[in-house]
Amino acid sequence: MSQDLIAIVMFSGMLGLLLTGQRVFGAIGFVAVVAALCLWGDRGGFDLGFAASIKLMKWYPLLTLPMFIFMGYVLSESKIADDLYKMFHVWMGGLSGGLAVGTIGLMVLISAMNGLSVAGMAIGATIALPELLKRGYDKRMVTGVIQAGSSLGILVPPSVVLVLYAMIARQPVGQLWLAGIIPGLLMAAAFILYIVIRCRLNPELGPILPKADRDIPMAEKLRLLRAGLLPLVIFFVMMVPFVRGWTSLVESSAIGAVAAFVAAVLKGRMTREVFENSVRNTLGVSCMFMWIILAALAFGAVFDGLGAVSAIEELFTEKLGLSPWMILILMQLSFIVMGTFLDDTAMLVIVAPLYVPLVGHLGFDLVWYGVLYTITCQIAYMTPPFGYNLFLMRAMAPPEIGLRDIYTSIIPFVAVMTVVLAIIMIFPELALWLPDLVYDN
């Protein structure tokens, strides 16, 4: 069997196994070790799976994973974001669609405090969603707002997805995080623009809050503004020592975890139950990530051994004669398609080792590409059949929101994200200006 054929058999075997619904890490790991045994059985094929665990251990940025996951759970379980929500509620209620706009604002702040979309989803679905529905907001729009808004968690730093990308692409995490800030804010602005325009055209989608609800003394309104300080404090406590070089990335993530924990304790929200849920869920999600990456590293090593990357490069550049930009666009499109089916870790550890070297060879900036990749992951989070935000929404949504509502709610937001993706592709400076400024490249 030729090497290209082996690569294709491996890939389709893995997809087939994934479709059976077996745990993702089992499917990937099985294909990897079987391929290793068939290819190099008597010559160490047995060791390849285990060698990945040593590789995984040495990838020190992965130490941030449980930290950012823990932060997210502390924030959502302890409900220290409730005050934040009230703040946006009071300040934005007077606008048509204002609560939805405020929810996006809330999601941006939550994104600055955790590395995944889970916390945003939990806070959005438990605090914002019931409130918005009670106020007569369109259920499809608010479902979309929360899914899209919480996906900013992986683009606005800190971001677990960008840490994983940094490991694969061997790019500096600090620069990648800074590169995510402007696109993240741009994306939030685009969501807001969409909400405002829709609600201007069709005011029933987001009714203005009744006068009685808005009649709050200015002093009270200003007092609520203080709630916005907490996320900023946590963000800066974590980011400043890191960007200034006083602490390393993994140390800063631990500081962030402690800061979130202390904030919850000081607010009196760290009950036994909150503690238990945060710690247990952190273990569950961390284990999920680690075991998938462990299996995928073995898969990647076999792929490397086969020389699959150069084969794909040859196919694109020589056999098909494509220009770099055409290849890049093709890759993004295939990524989006794949992202609807796969979860982001599976995409990252299997596809990125093929695509990232290619992107580098074609002469594109890998920090910029990290941002493109992350936006694609955001889209993947929301698109059926497989998406974290989709699952979470299904699990958390009140009964009046059906599966059909959840599926249709994302359409306009995916369109907005695709537009932002195109804008960042055309104007790389949007991503690169800030890291260049800070790191003085």
Binding site: T247, E251, V258, F341
Partner: protein
């Protein structure tokens, strides 16, 4: 459902839950090591051991916590079809596909054991025989006899130079627990197919 299978599932569930709950709190050990690392770096001299120690703790965290995460159902599956199936149908498919997972874990364990043997200074190709002899020597001749069988103890290639066998032993132990848990899941699915629940 034979009582032996029920009993197995009950024992394994309980044991892995206990070990997993222990691993769960390693999160704070990890935080502690990293915070100490930042403090010592800022106020005293940076330490040699913190990054590697954190890496070792992380291995224990996700490997020993793995079986408990399976109990909690944290490991994602692609539910393109799976999501729409009845619990019975899922159990039928899982009973077959869990063997893929078990095979992977088995190979992982083989690698872990041979690598652990290597870290005890055994360079041959029959790690099981080596461990058999090692245990036999320990039983009959005590630690000294066992020590004679061991060769060059592998150290981490760093200036701190810790011995690496403890982390490899943890990996062996954790992967074994994963296998035991997956077999328990297999029994549980068989019961489900028969319309029972354990």
């Amino acid at each position: 459902m034979p009582e032996a299978m029920r009993c197995y599932v009950r024992i394994i569930d309980r044991m892995n839950r206990a070990i997993g709950r222990f691993a769960m709190y390693l999160l704070f050990a990890l935080i502690g090591v990293l915070i100490w690392s930042s403090v010592s770096k800022t106020f005293f001299t940076p330490t040699l051991w913190t990054l590697e120690t954190a890496q070792f703790v992380m291995v224990a965290y996700y490997v020993l916590g793995g079986p408990y995460s399976i109990q909690m159902g944290s490991n994602v599956r692609m539910d393109f079809f799976y999501g729409d199936w009845s619990p019975r149908r899922r159990a039928i498919v899982d009973v077959i596909t869990i063997w893929f997972l078990l095979f992977y874990l088995g190979v992982l364990l083989w690698g872990a054991i041979s690598s652990t043997a290597y870290s005890f200074g055994y360079f041959g190709t029959e790690p099981f025989k080596f461990f058999g002899e090692l245990i036999w020597a320990f039983v009959t001749g005590g630690p000294d006899a066992a020590g004679e069988l061991m060769g060059y103890l592998e150290r981490s290639p760093s200036a701190w130079r810790p011995y690496v066998w403890p982390v490899k032993v943890i990996l062996c132990f954790g992967v074994t627990l994963m296998i035991l848990q997956c077999v328990a899941e297999f029994f549980r699915d068989i019961a489900r197919i028969r319309g029972e629940d354990i």
